[in-house]
């Protein structure tokens, strides 16, 4: 089948289902994004038959900044600031496995107090991300209150993170060998106050969002992902758990002090957009619980192991993974004995949701696209790195 000029916008992509006289049989190709209220800096090429999506081809890469190449030109400490930029709403979560991997490669011990502080900050960051995500989900579905409420509550948690690290969103707080600085004396008390307030506030979210018939009409039964597909397509985090797979790295392979804290893994069986939106809400409860427990148990002592200048890694490789807000985040770090890493590979949850998204959009209605797209917890900046 010949391809006319102008038809072929994407290399290797051609319009299917054309008759011999060149007329389309009702298959229309739409390009959604990168400037579109229903997509971030990301493009989806969808082929629609009437209102039904026949095929969806994600086209990421609009924010590809070459993080992995840049890592090879900087030493282990210099890599910290730019590695958290892909996901500044959850900047502790994205830095966590990198720090763990460097600690394994360079053989650095971590003080006990630092481990607790890391857990507290990671959980606060998880809530910060989930709230932002929930707000944008509300905007996508045309629910303005759902944008305003989480945005307002998010600022309280950002205040906590800012108090500890000094920055609103880009904390650069985790360093190999602990955390950058100790918590201020007033932090535990303020954190407890804000977290308890936030916990009470979460209950109201259910009343106004999740019990809302309009929200349910747009999400219940939309984009159902089966358990087998979720596993084989490599879905992670809330997407995987909403399909009934009990897989949480904090439980499966506890890092730092997660094995000493008491929490539950949230799962739902439905696997639709509503379940994917409901699981993060339940997880925020668990996050608050974890942070409160860690605040109670936190011992006193040093928070950072002193490192020599320019730490060198042993020859070898490390693969570390944590449960970030969007799912399993892993770093594959290869060292050749120099102060700079030989290769850093980020396996980010957003990138892993791309095939899931393409799978779910196939056969869905075009009007359900925003609901499915954003329930994926997809963050283009992180996916492109």
């Amino acid at each position: 089948m010949g391809v006319e000029m102008g038809r072929e916008r994407i290399p290797g992509f051609e319009l299917e289902g054309r008759d011999e006289d060149g007329m389309d049989r009702g298959i229309l190709t739409l390009s959604v994004g990168p400037q579109h209220p229903g997509s971030g800096h990301f493009r989806l090429i969808v082929k629609v038959d009437g209102d039904m999506i026949v095929e969806a081809l994600p086209d990421p890469g609009y924010v590809h900044r070459g993080e992995e190449k840049m890592c090879e030109y900087r030493n282990y400490i210099q890599n910290i600031p730019h590695l958290e930029r892909p996901m500044i709403a959850d900047s502790c979560g994205i830095l966590y496995p990198y720090v763990l991997a460097v600690e394994e490669i360079c053989n650095i011990a971590v003080p006990e107090r630092a481990k607790y502080i890391r857990v507290i900050m990671a959980e606060i960051n998880r809530c910060i991300f989930e709230l932002y995500w929930l707000g944008i989900y509300g905007i996508f579905l045309g629910h303005s209150t759902m944008f305003m409420w989480p945005m307002a509550d998010r600022e309280l948690l950002i205040d906590l993170a800012e108090m500890a690290s000094g920055a609103r969103v880009t904390h650069a707080y985790f360093v190999p060998g602990g955390v950058r600085n100790d918590l201020p004396d007033a932090f535990p008390e303020k954190a407890k106050r804000h977290l308890l307030y936030f916990k009470n506030r979460l209950k109201e979210y259910k009343d106004i969002f999740y019990d809302n018939p309009l929200f349910q009409a747009r999400t219940v039964g939309v984009g159902i992902l089966s358990k087998e597909d979720a596993i084989n397509l490599g879905a992670t985090g809330p997407v995987l758990r909403a399909s009934g797979v009990e897989h949480d790295i904090r439980k499966v392979e506890p890092y730092d002090v997660y094995d000493e804290l008491d929490f539950e893994v949230i799962t739902m069986k439905e696997g639709d957009s509503f379940a994917r939106a409901y699981v993060p809400w339940l997880e925020m409860y668990e996050s608050v619980e974890i942070a409160l427990q860690a605040l109670e148990k936190m011992p006193s002592g040093p928070v950072r192991t002193k490192l020599g200048p320019n730490p060198k890694g042993a020859v070898g490789e490390a693969f570390k993974r944590v449960e970030a807000a969007r799912g399993e985040l892993a770093y594959y770090l290869v060292s050749d004995g120099n102060p700079k890493p030989y290769r850093v590979k980020l396996s980010v949850p957003s990138f892993r949701e791309i095939p899931v998204m393409a799978h779910l959009l196939k056969g869905a209605k075009l009007a359900d696209m925003p609901s499915i797209y954003w329930s994926m917890n997809y963050w283009p900046v992180e996916a492109d790195r």
């Binding site: 994407i10 290399p11 290797g12 990421p60 890469g61 590809h64 070459g66 992995e68 190449k69 840049m70 030109y73 011990a109 596993i231 084989n232 397509l233 490599g234 879905a235 995987l240 797979v245 897989h247 499966v252 392979e253 693969f319 993974r321 399993e328 892993a330 594959y332 290869v334 030989y342 290769r343 590979k345 396996s347 990138f351 892993r352 791309i354 095939p355 899931v356 799978h359 492109d384 790195r385």
Partner: protein, 168 residues
């Protein structure tokens, strides 16, 4: 710290079990690169990688693809393609990450795709294709993914690609 170390050595029994099962099935075709706590890596030739992937998915329960990473070694004239898979269904191996790697010739990096076994690796393989120039035979859509459409340089994650002004 000592408790953790103790637990790790206990765990290594299970790791050995995985290694034994794989070597019993494949023998000399699969080489064990390392066995660390909860991390195992096999090196395999490109002729047997699909068999190995099917075996660990169906028999051992490593059904959850995590990542595909390519590493360039210009000194050894090879490109390492490392698949990391985890397990969601097998309780015993749940905390494990299994890596299996293929060493490819740097001048002619061609290997079969693993998309029939793990559908989730489709986009990871596309990324490896454009970042390191590894060609996956039988891949459903081996095209540009992240780089701009008019990219005309060599694949950026090869070691002989230097960032401008940072040549060493």
């Amino acid at each position: 710290m000592s408790q953790q170390g103790q637990a790790d050595t206990d765990q290594l029994i299970v790791e050995k079990e995985v290694v034994d099962k794989v070597t019993a099935r494949f023998g000399e075709k699969v080489k064990v690169a390392y066995v660390k706590p909860r991390r195992i890596r096999f090196n395999v030739s490109k002729d047997h990688i699909i068999d190995l992937a099917r075996f660990v998915r169906d028999e051992l329960g490593f059904d959850h693809p995590i990542s595909v990473a390519g590493v360039d070694y210009p000194k050894n004239k090879m490109i390492d393609v490392v698949y990391h898979v985890g397990s969601c269904t097998n309780e015993r191996y749940r905390s494990f990450v299994l890596a299996f790697a293929v060493q490819l010739d740097r001048d002619d990096p061609v290997m079969p795709t693993l998309t029939p076994v793990y559908r989730g690796v489709e986009y990871h393989e596309r990324e490896t294709f454009e970042m390191l120039g590894v060609i996956f035979e039988g891949h459903p859509r081996l095209e540009r993914l992240l780089l701009p459409e008019d990219w005309a340089d060599i694949p950026p994650l090869r070691k002989d690609f230097h960032i401008k002004g940072r040549e060493e």
